[in-house]
Point group: C2
Chain length 498, copies 2
């Protein structure tokens, strides 16, 4: 590894130093993947502020060797991380790393171009047009959401950004007719299962919090939102003089993996002139498999659809695909210079040419995310990516079946994708200890360091979530966690014996 | 390089495959840095849509070898990129790549943890607290903006995100007293030199566009905003029943590198109860050198300050530091679950312990950017980073002096940092061809492929910008671009001979 001169002759991109140090970090990471199962999955219970105490109070005056930095990562940082790439990480939703995602990101970070306007790196902007169309076709999205059909897509960092951008587009489309002062009348709709970032986004764009409608769902529809419930809420608001603006449908909710019926909600949204956004952050990736495409059926009625390849599609963080039917609605809200700064070939028709992506997102600057998703699609192909999804769905099916067959447990809501929601059953009618029992079971599993799961609360019930989907997660890890759960359940049930 | 099985045995993080393919990409990038001067700096004039025509219409069914992917990058992508890492890239502002920034990003991408709440990866959240304090101390920021002084910082993706978050914080603080319906009364202030993303941000958070005040600046103050001008605008608005909300001061504007007087504006903002944000996106990095810290003098009157290490601080895209004096003002606007989801040690006092960074930014999910900035600070140290800044300032000084000494040229506004704004002079009084002359000069330089610069328009004048700051840019590249400019000026002036 080259040593680094620290005087005025600093050469930050010297190819020899770059190669030597990058290789050292590749080795470090390969070793990490080899050893990741040796770490407790969830970070050990640390005293908050511990790392702050370990590290110096100020940056060093003089540069330090990479070896020292990596040694500090190994000693001070790794033990304090929760290991999202552990094969026994079943919490939240997965955040997939992969070799293709990693090397795609290396290309993005190494080239370090900024495709904010087409002219600032034409091939980067165009690759983004190509790759979002590829992705849309793989998921079976309707033509009208693709560049090739007059719509178009963009790669953003997160669903929340996508929600903010589409809310702003819907808001400005409405206020152009109503006048800005009518912002107080705009109402937005989602279910009680919709991710809370929807409310954060609505608040960010200035919709009055009193106009957020959180519509109740129930077990009878698998916690999916019904068009009838939306209609009732909208009718009440319209009678009160409000203007229905935006409806968020979710395919694969965070808590339970519930699915809102896209076509029914789309028809309802059209009836009231509302923007329909379909948030398929987690489950959208599954739609590359024909058997899951049905959940997006009706998407031709959507104004926008988003999904996060950084969750379950082997594309390292961050990468969120957002497709819109009307690029002009988006750019009208987000463009900073409708005339000035136009560059060769810029057009507003959403053709896959000369797109200025700064007008499709919150920020001006942006990363070359397209090359990462493109490398993932090229390296694994549709066949490889379907195999990745199938492997986890198969494991989740096995787990669901196995839990259901154990009479101490129950599956709380039928599994649709790779998320299984289950709990220890109440042992007798009106067993008011059942939530404590499950809370203790989850704490026991997580404290063991051998797996990490998180919980949800539905209809007042504490539910344990097993989200299968890690890049390294195989059937044996799901079998192991079941064995672990059985052992811990024995212990907890013994403690609760009357 | 290992070959990849494409059946159900797909192992996306196999350490052998990971090492082999990552090394291949390291080699690819080292070769790119070695050869980057062989490419035209700005992408050749491409037919928009060219890449879309070159690439297949759909993702491949079967995975393809990495060699093929890299060959396609070399053949189809590289010629269509603008090479932001070229030492002769002088356009916009620099976007620095470096070995330390790259390997720091590799660690972030490879570990792929998501520090959205403290418990989801404690060491990642804590490293962020440490590194933003380190950075703040290096820039000489007041204690009250640091965690160690009751404030705190966060790493976001862009200035626009930082502006949106602080605008939302200011808005919600005001509306909590006034009621949401008074959103129509909120007014925001900036200069005609302030980056246009400020208006984009204000629009995003629902401030009525009719309440954006763009205050004129002039050559007499070097295009800095005066407190008198702000006071006049505020007084008019207050008389009209509006509520002054937010003032954006810029240290190093995008067009000209102008500096707004932070202390004066801070006092003015306090007088009217406005939020003061200091946007030091580009020039903030220079404040690690004592001779530039004066520009941030008065920052103790600011509610927030932001700077982008991804521009001129050797930290690959993206990384924006945002510091706030009142973390609670920020989290009140951005928190999604004031009570629910609290985790061990979460507190709201902004102590450097157990910070849930999802409540400090737009998105829930987030990247482990802290490790990247930490590696940059560790590897280069304050001494190395100051040398990096000094090298470019020295080159820009030389260029300014040289341009000023050539009687065909003029420096349009005195250089403060590493941005020089200049033009060919009018050759006689009322020379109305002077803008065309400069436009042609810039086009000739850029078309040569040997350098890339961009322009600005101030007081109706077309100005050429030379932004020095590339990681590979040395004095000789600045001398080369001056030689190139002289040659092209000769040609252009000859064409315009009467």
């Amino acid at each position: 590894m080259g040593s680094l001169p620290l005087d005025a002759s600093l050469r930050p991109l010297d190819p020899e130093v770059f190669s030597g140090e990058s290789r050292a970090v590749v080795n470090f990471l390969a070793e990490y993947y080899r050893d990741v199962e040796k770490y407790p999955v969830r970070a050990a219970e640390l005293e908050p502020g511990l790392l702050c105490k370990l590290l110096p109070e100020a940056a060093p005056e003089n540069g330090e060797p990479l070896e020292d930095v990596l040694e500090d990562v190994r000693r001070d940082i790794l033990p304090g991380l929760t290991h999202w790439q552990s094969p026994s990480f079943f919490a939240y939703f997965p955040m997939n790393a992969s070799t293709a995602g990693f090397v795609g990101e290396m290309l993005s970070v190494g080239l370090n171009v900024v495709p904010f306007v087409w002219a600032a790196s034409p091939a980067a902007a165009e690759l983004e047009c190509v790759v979002v169309d590829w992705m849309g076709k793989l998921l079976g999205l309707p033509q009208r959401l693709l560049f090739s059909g007059g719509g178009g897509g963009v790669l953003q960092g997160s669903t929340c950004e996508a929600v903010v951008c589409t809310l702003a587009a819907a808001r400005d489309r409405a206020l152009a007719k109503l006048g800005h002062e009518n912002i107080m009348k705009l109402a937005v709709y989602a279910s009680d299962q919709t991710h809370v970032t929807f409310q954060k986004g609505a608040r960010l764009v200035g919709i009055p919090p009193s106009n957020f409608r959180v519509i109740q769902t129930s077990a009878s529809t698998g916690y999916g939102l019904t068009a009838d419930a939306v209609r009732a809420a909208v009718n009440r608001d319209v009678a009160d003089g409000l203007v229905p603006l935006y409806l968020c449908a979710t395919v694969g909710t965070t808590g339970l993996g519930a699915v809102d019926p896209v076509r029914e909600l789309g028809e309802e949204a059209r009836r009231h002139g509302m923007w329909l956004h379909v948030d398929a952050a987690y489950a959208g990736s599954a739609a590359i498999c024909p058997e899951f495409q049905g959940y997006l059926e009706g998407a031709e009625l959507a104004d926008s659809v988003s999904t996060n390849p950084h969750k379950w599609f082997l594309t390292n963080t961050d990468c969120c695909c957002l497709w819109v039917a009307s690029p002009r609605a988006l750019t009208s809200a987000l463009s900073t210079d409708p005339e000035y700064l136009k560059n060769v070939g810029t057009n507003s028709t959403g053709k896959p040419a000369a797109v200025d992506f700064k007008d499709w997102q919150i920020s001006l600057s942006r990363r070359f995310r397209a090359i990462k998703l493109w490398v993932v699609l090229r390296r694994y192909g549709a066949v490889g990516l379907r195999a990745h999804i199938h492997r986890h769905v198969t494991a989740a099916k096995w787990f669901e079946r196995t839990v259901a067959a154990d009479k101490r447990f129950e599956v709380v809501v039928p599994r649709k994708f790779s998320l299984v929601c289950f709990r220890l059953r109440a042992r007798f009618p009106e067993d008011d200890t059942v939530d404590d029992l499950n809370r203790e079971l989850l704490a026991a599993v997580n404290s063991s360091g051998r797996a990490f799961m998180t919980h949800f609360v539905v209809d007042g019930k504490f539910v344990i979530r097993l989200a299968v989907g890690g890049a390294m997660t195989e059937m044996k890890h799901v079998m192991d966690v079941w064995e672990l759960l059985q052992g811990k359940a024995d212990e907890v049930l013994r403690r609760y014996q009357i």
